[in-house]
């Protein structure tokens, strides 16, 4: 069934995959060079591992469960401002942790908006602190990602199928079974695995909203081992545990995803004759309203606090914003160089297991990779001089699993549907990329680039370990302001950061969808 002759060969992709593995393995070699035999894993660490897995699994399942109706509603409704809303709904995913936590507390905290409303209505208040708070925060962060991945899937269903379904007058249940379930089976496992891995590496959010040391995650234990005990052996060991957990989740998910042939349609705009009923419309409207409320209210809190802080922002913030932008652009470039060939390589293989490689950068803890590279670079060059490029490279690694999840399905569809035509026309190598792959994957490339750029802008990354005053990034500057009691100015910087990340995301996403349907 697998096509024999492929217009794009996997060699460069395999090479990129090997480079990613190499980057991470080398960082552990670096760590190994400096690690002394430390204390192994104690009961505290095991408790952390258990808690981490439980909260990550819950967060992943709930994020996807809520994302399904939200994405479906967004996919089948057209309304004014839909494009902007979809972009805005993506914002929580790129928020720096500390900003998001304060935003969530403004809404759901002890004296937050929700409790104020409940009190006014004479109802008992709710406490956000506990594992439910951790899960709530993680759903807040990751619902946007799951929604976007699903929405992308929904929009990739050829419009002809909905037309055919309408002509045959299929009842909703049949339509769900024949069109939507196959789609969900394709997307849900991968999205859930990805969110599981993100939540696996959560640290400050889990601790703060979990209400204390009960909510200790592996990443916190890594940080403690590294920063407080300087026990590189234990830190590396914990990092490997995290890697193993992430790897197993990814392999299970990719194994579940069935590999059945997909066929492209004629790229008409989807028309949904099947969802014109009033009940369905009301359901969709309610879902969009609920989802938007949950995702946008904390964002509104962040915006309000930020607007108050903007006038107090020191001029140095703008310089760091420039640094952040340049790091983001660099990480997008690096990401595309790695992700595109890798996606092609994965898409030409029958099984998708190789995609798990993309996750190792994210799950091995950026702190540890950064430290490993610091150790390796230090004897040869000044790591501080390379702080920004190294940060960009590591940010690209962090973005890789998202990019692959976005690119691979469409890449597979493109290669499966067009390889005969491409072979007939003699399209191979670069010309296949130029005339077939890049044009057909343009929306996905834009989305992946935007996501990576936005993540890179918002991420503190490894730069905190070593940075010259002039090489600070915007998130680092924000933390510095907070450290100097300038909380209002920091809120202003946070707003600037969110705006910048969103603008970058929107620009890339837009470039990808230009001359496509809105």
């Amino acid at each position: 069934m697998a096509p024999r002759a492929q217009p794009v060969v996997g060699r460069s992709g395999a090479l990129a995959g090997a480079a990613v593995v190499g980057l991470v393995v080398l960082s552990f070699v670096g760590l190994g060079m400096r690690a002394e035999v430390g204390r192994g894993l104690g009961p505290a660490e095991w408790a952390a591992i258990r808690f981490t897995v439980v909260q990550a699994a819950l967060s992943a399942v709930l994020s996807v469960v809520f994302a399904i109706p939200l994405a479906r509603a967004l996919a089948r409704r057209r309304f004014a401002g839909r494009g902007i809303l979809i972009t805005l709904l993506g914002a929580p995913f790129i928020l720096p942790v500390i900003v998001a936590v304060l935003g969530l507390l403004t809404v759901f905290g002890r004296n937050g908006w929700l409790n104020t409303v409940l009190e006014a209505a004479g109802l008992p208040g709710v406490s956000i602190y506990g594992i439910h708070g951790v899960v709530l925060a993680h759903v807040f962060f990751n619902l946007p990602l799951a929604t976007r991945l699903l929405l992308q899937g929904w929009q990739s269903i050829p419009a002809e199928r909905f037309r055919l379904a309408a002509q045959l007058d299929l009842p909703p249940a049949t339509l769900r079974r024949t069109l939507e379930y196959p789609l969900l089976v394709q997307i849900v496992p991968g999205a859930a695995a990805l969110i599981f891995v993100i939540c696996l590496t959560s640290f400050a959010v889990a601790l703060t909203l979990g209400g204390g040391p009960r909510a200790t995650t592996i990443e916190l234990a890594i940080y403690q081992a590294f920063r407080f005990d300087f026990d590189l052996a234990r830190a590396s060991l914990l990092s490997l545990v995290q890697l193993a957990l992430a790897g197993s989740a990814a392999l299970i998910a990719l194994w579940i995803i069935p590999n059945f042939p997909l066929t492209a349609g004629l790229d008409r705009v989807q028309q949904r004759w099947d969802v014109r009923g009033g009940v369905q419309r009301a359901g969709d409207v309610a879902m969009i309203a609920l989802g938007s409320g949950f995702l946008l209210l904390p964002l509104l809190a962040i915006t309000l606090a930020g607007l108050r802080g903007l006038p107090q922002m020191p001029p140095g913030v703008w310089l760091t914003a420039g640094n952040s932008l340049w790091v983001a652009v660099l990480s997008i470039a690096v990401l595309l160089l790695i992700a595109l060939p890798m996606a092609a390589w994965i898409a030409t293989r029958r099984a998708g297991g190789a995609e798990a490689i993309g996750l190792i950068g994210l799950s091995a803890s950026p702190l540890m990779i950064g430290t490993g590279w610091f150790i390796l670079i230090n004897p040869i060059a000044d790591p501080v001089a390379l702080a920004l490029p190294v940060t960009a490279l590591i940010n690209a690694l962090m973005g890789l699993p998202f990019a692959l999840r976005i690119l691979v399905p469409q890449m597979r569809e493109t290669l499966q549907s067009y390889h005969r035509l491409a072979t007939t026309l003699g399209l191979r190598g670069w010309s296949a990329w130029r005339w077939l792959v890049l044009p057909r994957l343009r929306p996905q490339i834009g989305f992946a680039a935007g996501l990576t750029g936005a993540l890179s802008v918002g991420d503190l990354g490894v730069i905190a370990l070593f940075a010259d005053p002039e090489r600070a990034t915007l998130p680092l500057q924000m933390y510095r302001l907070m450290g100097a009691y300038r909380l209002e100015a920091a809120a202003g910087a946070a707003l600037l950061l969110v705006a910048m990340a969103l603008a970058l995301f929107w620009t890339c996403d837009r470039l990808g969808r230009r001359d496509a349907e809105a």
Binding site: L102, A204, G211, G212, Y223, P314, N378, F466, A467, D468
Partner: protein, 341 residues
């Protein structure tokens, strides 16, 4: 478009600076080329516009005929990773909790200054790490929102459980660790029971001081673990006199940040001059408002106006580095167990 124009501009700046520098060097001959550089590693907050860094640089360069360059980052991990290859001549900002570990690296030389010049509330005899500021752990409250703040640590424990406080995690934050040593110094063997009493009042634990303090100023908690000097920021920078530190007669845990000289420095005289500058009146007078902490070598009558009115504890508790190091692991385990129930 903006994206594209940014980097070239910066590069051009660097090139221009370099060309300018090269031309200047060529014209001025060896005199300028030899302007010595003193590399000072500092904590992250140090070099922001409101941190003490820029003013220290200005003050020292005015007397040293040198170029002081700050390099910021995560101090101790960075030093330990760099080891003997470190470029630092001087390190500023190592807290008293990590000096034992820093000393063990063998990278530091005696500071050579007279500890007798210090005006700390405790006796300081360390010949390697020289304090440049100090403060104490304290719980901060807003007096307009809290009528009867606790007058002692015992009173804090006895407060109703609907009073909520936020603290920092001792495993990730220096101030969080200081709180544990504070409880240990006051209550010793009973620390476990104390934590169980405090647990229902602890709304949550944050990774770092900033998040905790943000939760306090946002009104999410009644009290926050911070420093006795925190109200000073609100008083002198914001004209806000509502934030107070609850002063406990049992005593408060002492914290200090130090400066130290690397033994491998290639500019030892400059490093010595910098250490002497740290004890100078110019530096010490700047510390309160630039660092929001108390100066280590300045009599109280010379503090900036209003600072001697700041309520400070009579009794000061402090473990020297060996004792702190010895008690740390057990204190953290006691804390973790009590709060995990």
């Amino acid at each position: 478009m903006i994206i594209l124009s940014l980097r070239p501009l910066q590069t051009k700046g660097t090139i221009m600076r370099r060309t300018l520098l090269a031309t200047t060097l060529l014209m001025a001959g060896p005199a300028l080329a030899e302007t010595p550089v003193l590399t000072v590693y500092a904590g992250d907050y140090f070099t922001s516009e409101w941190g003490p860094g820029p003013r220290i640089e200005e003050g020292f360069e005015a007397i040293c005929d040198c170029d002081l360059q700050f390099s910021t980052g995560d101090l101790l991990p960075r030093l330990m990773l760099e080891g003997a290859r470190t470029k630092a001549d001087v390190v500023i900002g190592l807290t008293s909790d990590v000096t034992a570990r820093a000393r063990a690296t063998g990278l530091f030389a005696p500071h050579g200054q007279d500890n007798g010049a210090l005006t700390l509330p405790i006796d300081w005899t360390d010949d390697t790490f020289l304090p440049f500021n100090y403060g104490h752990t304290a719980f901060i409250y807003n007096e307009t929102l809290m009528d009867t703040p606790p007058a002692s640590f015992d009173a804090l424990l006895a407060m109703p459980d609907d009073i909520k406080i936020v603290i920092q995690d001792p495993r990730t934050s220096i101030s969080g660790l200081a709180l544990l040593l504070w409880v240990d110094a006051v209550y010793g063997e009973d620390a476990g029971a104390v934590w169980e009493q405090l647990a229902p009042k602890i709304l949550t634990v944050t990774k770092d001081w900033s998040s905790s303090y943000g939760m306090f100023t946002d009104g999410e908690v009644d009290m926050v673990l911070s420093y006795t000097t925190s109200p000073a920021y609100h008083m002198f920078a914001e004209d806000d006199f509502t934030k107070k530190a609850a002063i406990f007669p049992e005593g408060h845990y002492f914290m200090t940040e130090t400066v130290a000289k690397l033994s491998r420095t290639e500019v030892p005289e400059l490093a010595d001059a910098f250490l002497a500058y740290v004890l100078s009146e110019d530096f010490q007078r700047m510390i309160p408002t630039a660092n929001w902490s108390l100066p280590s070598a300045l009599p109280e009558q010379d503090w900036p106006e209003g600072w001697s009115d700041l309520p400070l504890p009579e009794a000061v508790l402090f473990y020297d580095e060996d004792e702190a190091e010895a008690r740390k692991a057990e204190a953290i385990e006691t804390w973790r167990r009590a709060l995990s129930q």
